[in-house]
Symmetry: C3
Subunit: 269 residues, 3 copies
């Protein structure tokens, strides 16, 4: 019975002007010629661990169980930061540096049974490992071997002290009876400000009136989809990521409000 082809996803801050991503794919396909390699994004802001963490967290759940997700946002490449492999998210595998980039994936309820391993078995790496490109020399070959069916338990020992991002970005903070402080996790391609307020975690947001202060603007209007926002206005939309977003209609809320990733969001309810 033919096995389904394995899927390997790639998320990096490598951009698309260099040979970096191509080299990783070559390494993967040399080991696992039947694998389907999918780009999530190579435009993560350079060195931005939280953005990388958010991107893979949003994308992984739509892939088949068993998918191997390689994430390389890796300012500490070549230092003593460890390479890791996480089994998490309900049947997914994650490969990358131990620098917090899997913090969101590992914090969710699907990851209660997560198992994280330090990659130590060098036989599953390239024979020569550069000090500056572990995406090609460590993470891509490990993904290729996983796609071929090598078991994670052969790759290295389980560890508990993997790195968590200090600001997991996952949770707003209550600052008063009616006040919460959150953050803009990301500005998407359309200029929508994706916040860390998730109605699934704050059911009151679906039933009570609330407003958000972002930049200098107090936003009260809550609508169901972008096309309902009056021209020139911004409004709050529950986005496809499950997060509240501050949005405009065919325009960039980020440009209109002059704010970007990391900006504070004050919610009053």
């Amino acid at each position: 019975m033919p096995r389904k082809p394995s899927v390997i996803t790639l998320t990096t801050d490598f951009g698309e002007t260099d040979h970096f991503v191509g080299a990783m794919k070559g390494v993967i396909l040399s080991l696992a010629p039947e694998a389907t390699v999918v780009d999530i994004s190579h435009q993560v802001t350079r060195y931005d661990l939280l953005e990388g963490a958010f991107t893979i967290w949003q994308a992984y759940r739509y892939f088949p169980k068993g998918t191997v997700h390689v994430v390389v946002v890796d300012p500490g490449v070549g230092t003593r930061r460890r390479p890791i492999l996480a089994e998490a998210g309900g049947g997914h595998r994650f490969v990358g540096p131990d620098n917090g980039v899997f913090s969101l994936v590992l914090s969710g309820p699907e990851s209660e049974k997560a198992k994280v391993r330090e990659l130590t078995a060098r036989k599953y790496w390239r024979a020569e490992v550069s000090r500056t490109f572990h995406g090609r020399d460590v993470f891509a070959p490990v993904a290729g071997h996983l796609a071929r069916g090598i078991r994670p338990s052969l790759m290295g020992p389980v560890i508990e002290d993997w790195v968590r991002l200090a600001s997991g970005g996952a949770e707003p903070v209550r600052t008063g009876k009616h006040f919460w402080t959150g953050v803009v996790l990301k500005v998407d391609h359309f200029g929508n400000l994706v916040t860390n307020f998730r109605p699934d975690d704050f059911p009151a947001l679906r039933n009570a009136a609330f407003s958000m202060q972002v930049g200098l603007r107090q936003v009260n209007l809550v609508v169901e989809t972008y096309a309902r926002i009056p021209a020139g206005e911004v409004a709050i939309v529950e986005g496809s990521s499950g997060c509240l977003e501050v949005c405009a209609n065919q325009a960039s809320a980020a440009a209109m409000l002059g704010v970007g990733p990391g900006a504070p969001v004050e919610l009053t309810m």
Copy 2:
């Protein structure tokens, strides 16, 4: 006998900085693991239906018959605009919003027998449909089911009143005995101004002298390929899309003339 793998193409205005395209591919591969998913472009100008229409119109014909082409340029997502599936272009399938983005595909001679259906059978969508990301929740799963062999007739009823773009962009207008007014459909990556004058539709353009007014420049020189254009000049070339283009040699005609998409083109013959 193994079937050939199905091909699914993606054309969107989603950019490549977010997880959006990755999520769509995950949905597709979860349903149709053997499918080959090909990106046409995710850099369609935000909300630009004509550019999206032009991009898929130029690309689809080079793919195998039976290919499913998903196009998501969708400013009205979440409103009452309908999701559609078109069988057109001589054996191709097109999935996306009913907002005119398939106007060019559906206007050609290959599409005389086109059949357009409203997507209504929610069993072929994701169980939960967000109001802001039908690419992931409606169009990707429909494409996946089509690739698996589900018949279009199960997806929804045939409709006739699908939306046409007012300026299909397909046809120049005759404005005098010797005069036609057309438009710059697109500025390509090299700065070439792609017009809607197609010599196949105006055979006289191959035999008679003519000139084009674009911006402030009257262009008389017609050459066969870019490298024949003198340095610092612009000239008319019959491009690979079948359209006349105003071009420069290793330089951007758009920058030299200071014009962009939508600019009028006056042809005198």
Copy 3:
């Protein structure tokens, strides 16, 4: 016994805003539905043959033997420049214009037995060949036929006078007892200045003290990886490409020094 799927890579200066790359993939998949098509980069600087040559030279070696690498950086498309097919690099195949873009691939030790053919057998091209898009009409179909198993010897005769780039960029020049002049081959996505000094070719660089003058800066510090560079400083790192790079730590050395591709590098040892 099923054959492994063939791999075809694409490297172009086409960008990602047009249908160009999509059309090439459609042509390939129409001929070779089982092929795995991999993008190396479509962001080669327009018309920059040296950058294209460097990109494919860095990437090809990580792919399985037998891979077909299509490179289209082609300012002379439609003129009498020849289309070629090179068997080189120890079992790889390269398809593209005869304009020097394969100079680096063909100059290495793995290519001593390289064989270059002019593509003349038009039966392996599209029936209609435009004058401006040989990527779609010549190179993609040739790659598709190669992936299907057509032998190179059927595609055209061996030639010896294929075009070499005058500045192959491969070799620094000795300008004095202690002095060499090299060049910045490329600025990568992170702003690292990739030079043409390769320690494998200059073993002394691994054992003796040396410094590099780049722009107005004399750089003496040599470190093993980016994270070892003090904030605000630049240093020399032996990069993953085997070339010495001038780098900063989570910052762009190119921006800090104000230099770009083609800038001279003076090495003193």
